[in-house]
Symmetry: C2
Subunit: 212 residues, 2 copies
Amino acid sequence: MKTDKTKVKRAPQRGHYDKETIYSILDNDFVCQIGFVYDGYPVVIPTIYGRKGNYLYFHGASVSRMLVTMEEGVPVSLNVTRTDGIVLARSAFHHSLNYHSVTVFGTAVLVEDEEERWNALKVISDQVLADRWEEVREPNVKEMKATKVLKLEITEASAKIRTGPPKDDKEDYDLDIWAGILPIEKQFGKPIADPELKQGLELPYSVKNAIK
Amino acid sequence: MKTDKTKVKRAPQRGHYDKETIYSILDNDFVCQIGFVYDGYPVVIPTIYGRKGNYLYFHGASVSRMLVTMEEGVPVSLNVTRTDGIVLARSAFHHSLNYHSVTVFGTAVLVEDEEERWNALKVISDQVLADRWEEVREPNVKEMKATKVLKLEITEASAKIRTGPPKDDKEDYDLDIWAGILPIEKQFGKPIADPELKQGLELPYSVKNAIK
């Protein structure tokens, strides 16, 4: 997947092009920032995605500007970034971030087959919260009609990763300045029941499994 | 800041255009996804930013493709999104996310004045970790030469926010399905000292203040 567009030019040692690395970063999240050209201007919008095989799936309201634009077959670019920590060096210059990031280039196509549309929505739902799909009321015909599904083949992609401690200039290691990593952690909090929740309903498997 | 480009078309009740809301979302983060058109293709790249007044500042290596492209005065779009929780409805269709998101459109310009460049780097540093700038070795002439600084005036921007419980169809409230919010929390973890850290150095004020 290393092409002229995806080649990591700055800090090339941080670049990764293998599917395993790219998939694992994509699978660790479910919100990406997707960019396309609209009316001559770049537009960057956050959206939910799900990955299955070499495809990313997106969904939304049938009238969504993003989906209507993407459906026309315009090139898109998307990025998923997890920030793992602030890299605190002894010099301002060598401060950095630890992160896992993937950028994908491609062209999305409309999914029209009803079974594929259904499966794509389940893929997206599973990516947000595994097993939730099976617990809830399925989409009805009217809801399926109001929903647009697109898929993007991952043909050009690259990952960029930084891990580990700061790297300071040799002479700075003697300075009396604390250096290290301030980790950034993301986790689920305590579930909040809907104020309208029917009495007697326990937390479902999907939620219990996610917070365990 | 409500223009044809920034107007929130889907779910217009989620759109906000006042500076206070937009600034508060921008100030709560320091990584944005920035998009520009390069060689006819949209490119979306994560980058660190800092806000001061109505300007966003970016920095990087002088040879960075992103900065070199942006410096040419091309239109850019950037997005900052914080996901606050997964909205678990009784129907698959009404599942959603709680989030705070800002999209900014504009054109970046190169900052050339040396004092403004210095101040911009401090703004960015302060945004990542307040008070760190004062604790570390300042940039030297060589480092300043290797660094490019750009600024973007926030002239077009909109925020999109969803909060609160799921909204299900009336008839679905009777279903025996748990509904509510699964919060997503982001916080600093326990600081990790550089393995090369000089003995006897305590955690600095900036870190202690951030994790308290």
